[in-house]
Symmetry: C2
C-alpha cells in the first residue's frame, strides 16, 4: 500500500517535471489531471486559472503592454510590469530639467500620473478556434502558393470582421504551423498613465538586458494605470477619464517565497521553434547561427573601425552597432546552448521514436508521409540557402540597399488592392512603416554604409554558380577587380537620391512608372534585384503553404505518441508556464542560488554605472533588518529569484504567481545559459529570472514612503514596532 502510494507519487512527480517544459495555452491547463498540478504545488482549482465558459480566471488579469506582458494588481486599474516595459513613457516625459529616467517617478495623486501618447494595454476577452474555417478556405487550393494566399486572405477577413466591433484589437494566430488557428479578441485601452518607476540605477541595476551573468540584483519593476471614459469604454486620453475597473486583478502575496516553491508565469511569449523537425533545427545550428556569427562579426568590426575614424559617424551607427552586437552575441549563445543541451540530437531521437511508433500504425501513415514530404521540400530550399541568407539580411546591412529595395517593392504593392498586400504595406500599417524609414535617416553614415554595401556585394560575388544573383552579376561582373567594384559602388551612391531624406519621402508616394523614369542608379540596381527578390518572397510564401499543409499532420502524430498535452510553440498568445523556484549550476563547481538579495546590491555598489545604487536605497538598506519584507529564512531582503519557468521574449513583465494565484514576482529575463531554450528545454539550465515582489514593496515603503499606492495594492500599513 505504501509502495503503491510511493509509485503513484512518483508518477505524479514525473508528470510534474514534464509539465515544467511548455508554455501552455489556457484550454490546455484544463486538460491536465488536476492531481498532477496539485502535486506540483497548485492550491486552487485549475478552473480558477482559466474558465472558458465564464471567459475569466487568473489569466484575464494578464495583459499585454507594448509587446511586454503585465498584470492588473488593483481594483482601480493599476498595472505591474517591468521597468524596461514602461521605459517609453519615461522617455516621453523626461527632460534635462526633470530627468525621471534617471531619478524615477512617483505620482502621489492621480492628477500627477503621466499620460502616454504611445503605450497601449490590450486585455484578453475571448479566444475562438477558427481552424475549420481556415482549413475550409484553403480547401481546393491548386498548389501550396495558392494555399498560402487563401489562408492569408481568410485571416485578414476574420481579423477585419472582429475589429469592426468598437475598441477591439484582433489577431489570428497559427499554432505549430497550423495544428490550430485561434482568433483572439482583445480590448485595447489607449489611455495608460505612469504611476511609478524606480530610478534607472535600481530598475537597470547591473546594466539590464540579459547580457549579464547572475546576478546583479535588478529592480526591473514599474507601475502604470489604465483609464477609460466615464461610461467605462476604452477611450483616448482625456482628463475626464476614470480608472479602468478590471474584471480580475492579482492579489499580492503576503507569504514569503522560498526555494522549491511552486510558481506560474502568465504572459505573452513571442516565438519559439521547438515544433521544427530535427533537420530544420540542424539548419539553424549549422547554417543560420554560424553565418550570423560570421556576417555580423564582419559588420561589427567594420563599423567599429569606421567609428574610430569618424566620431559623428560613430554616433550615427551606434544603435545599429548595438543591434548587431546583440544579435552576434545571441547567435553565439544559441550555438553554445545547442551544444550544451545536445538539442538537435535529443530532438532527432524523439522524432525517430515517434516515426518508429507511427510506422506500425496505419492511421498515422499520412503523418509519416507528411514528414517525408516536408523534409523533401525543406531540402529543396537548402539549394539556395546562401543566396537567401543574403536576401534576408538586406535590412540588417547597408541602408541604401535596403531603402532602394523597399521603395521598389512598396510602389508596386501600393498599386494592388489593400487586402492583397503583405501586412506591412496595408493602408492601416503604412504610416508606421514610413515613419520608420524616416527615422532611419539619423542612423545613416555614408562611408560606413558603402562598406556594408561592398561587403554584401563581395559575399554575393562569391556565391556558387547555382545561386547567382543576376543583378549583382550585371552591375558587378566577375571581370571587375575588388577596386573597380569599390569605385562602382561609390558612383552608385554618388548618383543616387535614395539616401536623401526629402527625395526618399517623395519617392514613397510615386507610381511605379514615375519611379522607374527617375533612372536613379541605386533604384535601377534594386529593380534588377526585385525580379529575384519577388521569386524569393514567393518561394517563402509557397513554403509557408507547404508547412501549413504538412506540419500539422506530423505534429498530431507527435501529440498522439505523447499521449498527454504537448505545449505548442510560443506565438505571442497568452500562456501559462508551471515552474518551481530553483537555482542551477552554470558550470562545473559553481551553483547559482535561487535568490539574490539587497546585500548583493550593496556588495556590488561601486558608485559608477551600472552599479551605482542610489543614496536613498543605501540609506534605507541600513534598516532592512527591521523591515517586514526581509525574508526570515534568507536573513536578507530577496531581490531577484530563479525559477524553472519556460519563457522567451515577450514574457518580460509577466506576473509570477504562487500556488494560490497570488503575485510573488515579475519575470524580466532568462539566464544567459538558457538562450537556446527556444529550440529545446534543457531542465538543467532552463531558468527564468524574476524580481521578487517584496523588493518592490520594500522600495515603495522604505524608499518612497508610497503609503497610498501600497494601500491601493491592498498592503496594510506596517504595525508600528518599537
Amino acid at each position: 500500500m505504501v509502495v503503491l502510494r510511493a509509485l503513484l507519487l512518483l508518477v505524479l512527480l514525473q508528470g510534474a517535471v514534464r509539465a515544467e517544459e511548455g508554455k501552455w495555452t489556457p484550454p490546455q491547463v484544463l486538460e491536465f489531471n488536476p492531481g498532477t498540478l496539485q502535486a506540483m504545488g497548485l492550491r486552487i482549482p485549475p478552473e480558477e486559472i482559466w474558465s472558458p465558459s465564464k471567459g475569466t480566471g487568473l489569466l484575464s488579469a494578464a495583459v499585454n503592454i507594448g509587446g511586454c506582458s503585465a498584470s492588473f494588481v488593483s481594483a482601480t486599474g493599476l498595472i505591474a510590469t517591468n521597468h524596461h516595459c514602461i521605459f517609453g513613457i519615461l522617455q516621453e516625459h523626461s527632460s534635462t530639467d526633470n530627468n525621471i529616467i534617471r531619478d524615477g517617478f512617483l505620482a502621489r495623486t492621480r492628477q500627477q500620473e503621466l499620460p502616454s501618447r504611445t503605450t497601449r494595454v490590450t486585455v484578453p476577452l475571448a479566444f475562438t478556434d477558427v481552424t475549420e474555417d481556415i482549413e475550409r478556405a484553403a480547401t481546393g487550393a491548386s498548389d501550396d502558393l495558392a494555399r498560402y494566399r487563401a489562408i492569408s486572405r481568410r485571416q485578414k477577413e476574420l481579423v477585419a470582421a472582429c475589429e469592426s466591433k468598437p475598441h477591439r484589437r484582433c489577431r489570428l494566430s497559427q499554432f505549430d504551423g497550423g495544428v490550430q488557428y485561434i482568433l483572439q479578441e482583445m480590448m485595447e485601452l489607449p489611455d495608460v498613465r505612469l504611476v511609478y518607476a524606480p530610478p534607472r540605477a535600481i530598475g537597470e541595476y547591473g546594466g539590464g538586458g540579459g547580457k549579464w551573468v547572475w546576478a546583479p540584483p535588478t529592480g526591473d519593476f514599474g507601475i502604470a494605470r489604465a483609464y477609460v471614459s466615464p461610461s467605462g469604454e476604452p477611450a483616448e486620453y482625456s482628463p475626464n477619464n476614470v480608472p479602468y475597473l478590471p474584471q480580475r486583478f492579482l492579489q499580492i502575496s503576503q507569504k514569503p517565497l522560498r526555494d522549491g516553491d511552486f510558481v506560474m508565469v502568465l504572459g505573452y511569449p513571442g516565438v519559439t521553434y521547438r515544433s521544427l523537425l530535427a533537420k530544420e533545427m540542424e539548419e539553424r545550428r549549422d547554417l543560420f547561427f554560424q553565418r550570423r556569427v560570421d556576417l555580423y562579426g564582419e559588420w561589427i568590426e567594420l563599423l567599429n573601425a569606421m567609428s574610430r575614424e569618424d566620431e559623428k559617424g560613430g554616433i550615427a551607427v551606434a544603435a545599429d552597432l548595438k543591434t548587431l552586437l546583440n544579435r552576434h552575441k545571441n547567435a553565439q549563445g544559441q550555438l553554445d546552448g545547442f551544444r550544451r543541451g545536445s538539442l538537435v540530437e535529443k530532438h532527432r531521437e524523439m522524432e525517430d521514436r515517434v516515426a518508429t511508433w507511427a510506422a506500425d500504425r496505419p492511421e498515422w501513415s499520412r503523418a509519416v508521409a507528411a514528414r517525408s514530404e516536408l523534409l523533401h521540400h525543406f531540402e529543396e530550399r537548402l539549394v539556395t540557402w546562401e543566396r537567401d541568407f543574403l536576401f534576408d539580411n538586406i535590412a540588417a546591412g547597408s541602408k541604401a540597399l535596403y531603402w532602394a529595395t523597399v521603395l521598389v517593392q512598396m510602389v508596386q504593392e501600393r498599386e494592388k488592392p489593400d487586402m492583397e498586400r503583405p501586412e506591412a504595406f496595408m493602408e492601416r500599417n503604412l504610416p508606421r512603416f514610413t515613419t520608420l524609414l524616416h527615422r532611419q535617416q539619423k542612423s545613416y553614415f555614408e562611408a560606413a554604409d558603402q562598406q556594408l554595401f561592398a561587403s554584401w556585394i563581395r559575399r554575393a560575388r562569391n556565391l556558387p554558380v547555382s545561386q547567382r544573383i543576376r543583378a549583382v552579376d550585371k552591375f558587378f561582373p566577375a571581370s571587375m577587380t575588388e577596386e573597380q567594384v569599390r569605385d562602382a559602388i561609390q558612383q552608385l551612391y554618388h548618383n543616387s537620391r535614395v539616401t536623401d531624406l526629402d527625395s526618399r519621402n517623395q519617392m514613397i508616394r510615386e507610381s511605379v512608372d514615375s519611379l522607374r523614369k527617375r533612372q536613379d542608379p541605386l533604384l535601377q540596381f534594386a529593380w534588377e534585384l526585385e525580379a529575384q527578390l519577388a521569386d524569393f518572397r514567393e518561394a517563402s510564401h509557397r513554403w509557408e503553404g507547404t508547412v501549413s499543409r504538412l506540419r500539422p499532420q506530423w505534429r498530431k502524430a507527435v501529440m498522439a505518441y505523447a499521449g498527454k498535452p504537448v505545449a505548442p510553440d510560443a506565438n505571442g498568445t497568452l500562456r501559462v508556464s508551471f515552474a518551481h523556484v530553483k537555482g542551477y549550476s552554470p558550470r562545473d563547481g559553481v551553483y547559482y542560488q535561487p535568490f539574490t538579495t539587497l546585500r548583493g546590491v550593496l556588495e556590488k555598489h561601486t558608485g559608477k554605472d551600472p552599479f551605482d545604487a542610489p543614496e536613498t536605497l543605501r540609506n534605507a538598506a541600513r534598516n532592512v533588518e527591521h523591515s517586514r519584507w526581509k525574508d526570515q529564512e534568507l536573513g536578507e531582503l530577496a531581490v531577484n529569484f530563479l525559477a524553472t519557468g519556460d519563457t522567451t521574449g515577450g514574457n518580460s513583465g509577466s506576473p509570477v504567481v504562487n500556488g494560490y494565484g497570488e503575485l510573488v514576482g515579475l519575470n524580466f529575463d532568462r539566464v544567459w545559459e538558457n538562450v537556446a531554450n527556444d529550440f529545446g528545454y534543457n531542465p538543467a539550465i532552463a531558468r527564468n529570472v524574476s524580481v521578487d515582489i517584496r523588493y518592490l514593496l520594500w522600495t515603495l515603503e522604505e524608499i518612497d514612503k508610497a503609503t497610498e499606492l501600497l494601500g491601493e495594492l491592498q498592503v496594510a500599513p506596517a504595525t508600528t514596532q518599537p
Copy 2:
C-alpha cells in the same frame, strides 16, 4: 539527558569551529581536548599526529622542498608536492628537443629519474624551545637597539652550533614577536630527483597561480624522490646513492573524500600578521596597501608604455612587470578582504575586550602597559612613514638606484666581522646574493629605469618638510624644474659605471675607500642616501627590539583571556590546520561547490592556453565512467576541492590528510576572496584549494599507465572488470 548531550555536542562543535582558525604548532595539537578533535572528525589519537617524546608522527612525513611543503608517500622516499613546486627541476632538464615542461615526465625506472642541482628537501628532526636562552642573552641590554643586537647575535650562535652537526640545517624562529623562540633542527637531503610531472596543460590548467576564479580544475601535482648515500647519510647526487627510507610516510586514502569531511593540512606556512595590534593593521590597510596600489599602479603604467615603444626593452622588464602586477593585484585583494571581513574592526573589538578584561586584573597590568608602550613607539614610527615607504621600495623600482645603494652598504658590511653583519651579507650567503645582482642585469632597460628613478625622485621631492631625504634635496634641489631633474638623472646614468655588469662585479669586491675614490655620480648619490638609510635600518632594528620586548607581554594576556590554545602567526615552521571540506559563497546569489570535476576540465577546454587539455587526457576521459577513481556520489572524477583550511604562502604542496591521517589531497592555493586571510580569519570565505589525490591516481593509471609507480604508492592494480 538528551538535552544535555545535545548541549555537549554544541559546545564541542563550537570548539571545533574555533579550531578551524589557526595554524597550530605540533605541541599545540596535544593541548587540545582530544574530544574536541574527535568531534571535528579526527579518528586517530592526537599523539599520532605528533609525539614529542618519540619525535615522530604524521607530521614527520611533512617536509620542506624549496620553500614549498611536501610529504613522503612511500617507504622508498617518494615525495608528493605541487607541480609548481618542482617546476625548477623541469626547467633544468627541459629543452626544445625534449620539452618536459610542456609534455610532462614519467620515469619508468629509477635510472630514468632526473637529478636536480638546486632542489633540496629538509626533514624535520627536532624542535627545541630556546626562549629562556634568548631572553637571558637579551637581559641587561641598555636599550631596544642593543636588545635587538643581542638577540640577533645569540640567534646566529645557536644556529651555528646546531649546524655543526653533519647534514643539519637549523633555523631559529620567533613566534608572535617573541612569545616563544624555537630552534628547529632539520636534516637536509641534497639528492632529489624528478619521478613524475604531468604536462603543463594539466599541472597549470587555467593558468595557475591564484589569480583565477574558482575553478579551472588544475592538476597541480608532481612526484620526486629523495636519495641518500648507500650508508643512509644525506649526500650530494651520486649514481650510487639509494632511495631515502623515511621514518614515516603517508598512506594514500582509498576512501572517497566528500563534502563535510574532516581534513588536516600539514606544512610550512610562511608568514601571517594576525598578532599585530588593530592599529598596526590599520596602517597596513590605510597606508601600506593603499600606497602600493598607487606606486605600483604608476610603475606598471610606465613599464607598459615603455614596453610598447621598445620591444627588446619590453622583454627585459617583463619579469619585473609581472611581479609588480602580482603585487598590485594582491594589494587590491588585501584591501577588498579587509573591507569584506571588517578585519580591523573585528580585531579592535577583540583587543578592547582583552584590554577591559586585563584592566581589572593586577597580574596583567604590565600587559596593558606593554600594549600602550608598543602603540606609542608604533605611532612614533608613523611620523616618517611616507619617507620610509620610499626607502623600502628602492629594491622594487630603479635597478640603478638599488644597485648603487646595495654596493655602498655591501662594501661597508664586508669590513665588519661575519657575525655582526646582517644575514644577507654573511659569508655563507654572499655568493647567492652576488649571483642575484648578476642575474638582474638581463632585466635592465635603461630608458625605463631612468623613468622609475625619476618617479622615485619626484615622490621624494614631494615629501613633507618633516620627512625630507637630504640626498634628494642636495642632488635635486627644490629650485630645479621637472625638466632639469630629468636632465640631471640622465647625466647621472650617463656618467656612472654602476649599471655596467663588469664594473659592478669589480665594485662588489672593492674596499670602502677605493669605491669612494671612483667618484661615480650614482654612487655619490648613494653615499649621501646611505647616512639616512643606515638610520632607517637602525630604527627598524630598534623597533624589532621594542617588539620583542613588548609584544610577548600583550600576547600572553590575549592567550590568558582566550583560556584555550591560540595559534601563533605563521613563521615558516611546521604547522597543522584542522578543516572540513566545504564550499562557500563568493558573492550574493552564487555558491562555489566544494568539488570541481573532470567534466569541468572538458567543459572549459578551448584548445588554447590556458585551457588546452591534452589529447591523452581527453581520450582517457571518455572512459572515466568506468574508472575506480570516479566518485559515485558526485558521479564525476573529483579534481580540486575546497576546505576551510587556514593556509598561506608556503603551504603549497602541503599534504591534506583525512581523519585517519591518510592522504586525500595536495594543497596548492587559497581562493581569491581569501587573500587578506593573513590578517584575520573570515570563516565565510576562508577556503584553501587542493587537488584531489584521486585525480593524480586517475592520471597515473589512465593516462600514463604508471603501474609500477602506483605499486610503490601501495595502490593495488585495478581488478579487471568486464
